[in-house]
């Protein structure tokens, strides 16, 4: 029996203008793994992550995904008129399945601002709302772009917990990070 691989990228490369951002990057994520993409600002972490998510066409190399994934980009995906509750309800409907949205909101510390339009939420509250999408549907692969951005200490601890329990359940996480990681990675990819 071969090792199940959730996502595999082979020889990935990206070009910005006349500059090569990165080339020949290969990575594979097996269940339980946490892979961190490290690098300075502008080194192409987001670009690589978007290629892995299938949002950008790789300029070199191939990406194979065998499972569904959750995408948390650096934009939160919230519309200005949406409240945390309506945002989660919307994507729960799109993805199908019946999740207890009230429970997710409580768990993510969003109970109080649950019905406030996102244009009036703080950056951290919006980030928490975006991260709540991870709870809406069980997907084995999480692709996270700077997930700890804008979160307070409590939010960071919560997210670290979520990632740990996701890995314990056989999921895998690929995250782009520039700062200190509050989580222990199984592998780091330096760009």
């Amino acid at each position: 029996m071969s090792d199940p691989v959730l996502i595999a990228g082979h020889g990935l490369g990206a070009v910005r203008g006349e500059r090569v951002l990165f080339q020949d990057v290969s990575l594979e994520a097996a269940p339980g793994e946490l892979i961190l993409l490290r690098g300075a600002n502008g080194s192409g972490k987001t670009t690589l992550l978007r290629q892995l998510a299938g949002l950008s066409e790789p300029q070199a190399g191939t990406v194979e995904r065998t499972v569904l994934h959750h995408w948390i980009g650096h934009t939160n995906g919230l519309k200005a008129h949406e409240t945390p509750r309506s945002h989660l309800r919307h994507w729960a409907r799109v993805w199908g399945g019946d999740t207890d949205i009230a429970a997710i909101l409580t768990e993510m510390g969003l109970k109080r601002p649950a019905n406030v339009p996102s244009r009036m939420l703080s950056a951290g509250q919006k980030r928490r709302t975006a991260l709540s999408r991870l709870r809406l549907q069980d997907r084995e692969l999480w692709l996270l772009d700077e997930p700890f951005n804008a979160l307070d200490t409590d939010g960071q601890a919560r997210l670290a917990n979520m990632i740990e329990s996701h890995r314990a359940a056989g999921g895998s996480v690929i995250a782009a990070l520039h700062g200190d990681a509050p989580i222990e990675a199984t592998r780091e990819v330096e760009l």
């Binding site: 949002l55 995408w71 519309k79 919307h90």
Partner: protein, 220 residues
Amino acid sequence: MTAPAPLLSAFRQAFSEAWASGAGLLLPLGFFAGTATLVPFTLGGEADLLSRVGPGILWLALALSSMVTLERVFQADLQDGALDLWLQDTGSISLVAAIKTLTHWLVSGFPLVLMTPLIGFMLGVPAEKMIPAMLGYAMGGLVFFLWGGVAAALSASVARGGLLIALIALPLYVPALIFGVQMVDAGVDSPSFLFLCACTLFALGVAPAAMGAALRLAAE
């Protein structure tokens, strides 16, 4: 995404987004009424002349006001990251884009049709032409919004893409405009109306794929 549930959700989201924009909803209406109202001042108030050019003026006003709010339809999705979420699953972005555009037509295009009699009578359009005219505006409006949607998707990543939308979309409006103006005179049972409907069907068939491709490109 096989079930219609995602599409229903897309409709709900687009509708509540348009609703939440409040005054934005009334902009095309105001623009439509304003443009048409200016005509008597520029051409003079002769009833004969106005009733002859009236339907054509309304077509022009409809074509222009269809573009007033299109700029934000996809640009907002690109900026707030909702587009990435729609794209992350499978290849149904075309359908989602089509639903968004049709919702947009329902919210800010269909009211223009309902307002036609008011402005039409003001311009002296004969009462018996009003029903064919409204049918034509409904069909033609769909064409305008669909091609306008393609232009909006293409210019989603361009700051202040409003003018670009006009440049891309206006040439695509021409066939529907030609048949539309003819059908108001010739009536609903004329070939012109059938050609107008053909324009609508063609736009319904082609525009969603074009929007999907443009949005994928915009997200890159």
